[in-house]
């Protein structure tokens, strides 16, 4: 069924004991409240102690894959960006 009034939502889940929300997939829903319900049914099996975020897919701005080269080919060849030229005083621990 094509769903003009059931847009796509991206689902982010923080599992019990998890530190951050991870993208786990997407659902179709007419609004955020129902998107959370559906996400709970589809991605959590209603385990207790989880946190869900849903975001309308249209609201997500993504980087352009075509631009991945210039955007991410990082500072591999720019050694001056690598923090390897510092003298660490002996007294400093845990770096």
């Amino acid at each position: 069924m094509s769903q003009p009034d059931w847009p796509l939502w991206e689902v982010f889940l923080r599992s019990k004991g998890g530190l951050s929300h991870r993208h786990v997939g997407s659902v179709h829903a007419p609004d955020g409240e129902l998107a959370v319900r559906h996400a709970r049914d589809v991605y959590t099996r209603r385990m207790e102690g989880v946190s869900l975020w849903v975001v309308r897919s249209a609201d997500i701005v993504a980087s352009d894959p075509d631009q991945a080269g210039p955007m991410f080919a990082p500072a591999e060849d720019k050694v001056y960006r690598h923090p390897t030229f510092y003298q660490i005083p002996d007294g400093v621990k845990h770096i």
Partner: protein
């Protein structure tokens, strides 16, 4: 396919020694264990039959996500039914188990309320049924967490979390459809109109339940009514649907007097175990 005899010898024995012997109605339980068993059948059968109805939606829901919601609710209910019926079988002490109770009883031995055996109809009618049943169900299980029967208390404690979700989800859909388009509102009203006559049975008490309440095992259904009515009014107000004067109640499920729908449901549900009674699966 061979059918089961509808009246079993043990039914006749109970009927003969029942206080109402000779009257039309089904046998009346006349000892504590019979009442306890009967009460557990009511709890288990409600969940079993509604779970079976919900399974019929599988693959037919308005959207994939709704399909999942309905299947989820159905699975929760079948899980509760299994626990209640297994416990019923152990109380009965006749060597039966949940499968024997689910698949080897006929219409007259089922103790579910008439509402849960109603055909699904359209999505609105299914949601009306779910909302009415789950709203009462959550109150009942909540009260049963204090049951003197530790097994009932444990099953209720597990089930009440599931049913709270069922009640929320169905209330949400009642509001969406009622306060949606003209057509969805008309269908929601029709869906409720189908089910109003079955509401009173959810709160009906009889001698068996009174006895179980006195023993601390059951919850007084009648006492749950005000909370149900308040929730019903709140949700239907938000859905812009009027709550009518309820029509004359249809009851009888607790005695095995069912609508014509249950026999067909059982024919589908029990077909394989009846055809191959000795099979293990």
């Amino acid at each position: 396919m061979p059918s089961l005899p509808t009246i079993q010898p043990q039914d006749e024995a109970r009927a003969d020694r029942a206080s109402h012997a000779g009257t039309f109605d089904a046998p009346v339980a006349d000892d504590h264990r019979d009442a306890h068993f009967d009460y557990l059948l009511r709890l288990g059968d409600d969940a079993l039959i509604l779970g079976q109805r919900l399974s019929e939606w599988c693959g037919h829901a308005p959207a994939l996500e709704v399909d999942l919601s309905l299947a989820n609710i159905g699975l929760d209910l079948i899980g509760q039914a299994t626990l209640f019926l297994d416990h019923a079988a152990s109380v009965e002490g006749a060597g039966r188990d949940a499968d024997a109770l689910a698949f080897r009883r006929d219409v007259l031995q089922f103790r579910n309320c008439v509402m849960v055996e109603q055909p699904n109809g359209d999505f609105a009618r299914t949601m009306a049924r779910q909302f009415l049943f789950s709203t009462a169900h959550v109150l009942l299980l909540d009260a049963l967490t204090a049951s003197a029967d530790p097994q009932i208390a444990a099953i209720a404690a597990k089930g009440v979390k599931e049913v709270r979700y069922h009640a929320d989800l169905s209330a949400d859909w009642v509001i969406r459809l009622g306060d949606g388009t003209d057509e969805s509102r008309a269908r929601m009203i029709d869906g409720f109109d189908w089910h109003w006559r079955f509401v009173d049975e959810l709160f009906a008490m009889d001698a068996i339940e009174e006895r179980m309440v006195a023993a601390g095992i059951a919850a007084d259904r009648a006492a749950l009514r005000p909370a149900f009515d308040a929730r019903l009014q709140a949700v239907l107000d938000e859905a812009t649907i009027p709550v009518p004067e309820l029509p004359r109640a249809v009851v009888g499920g607790r005695k095995g007097h069912h609508s014509e729908h249950l026999g067909h449901l059982l024919a589908v549900m029990q077909h394989l175990p009846r055809s191959y009674p000795d099979a293990t699966w």
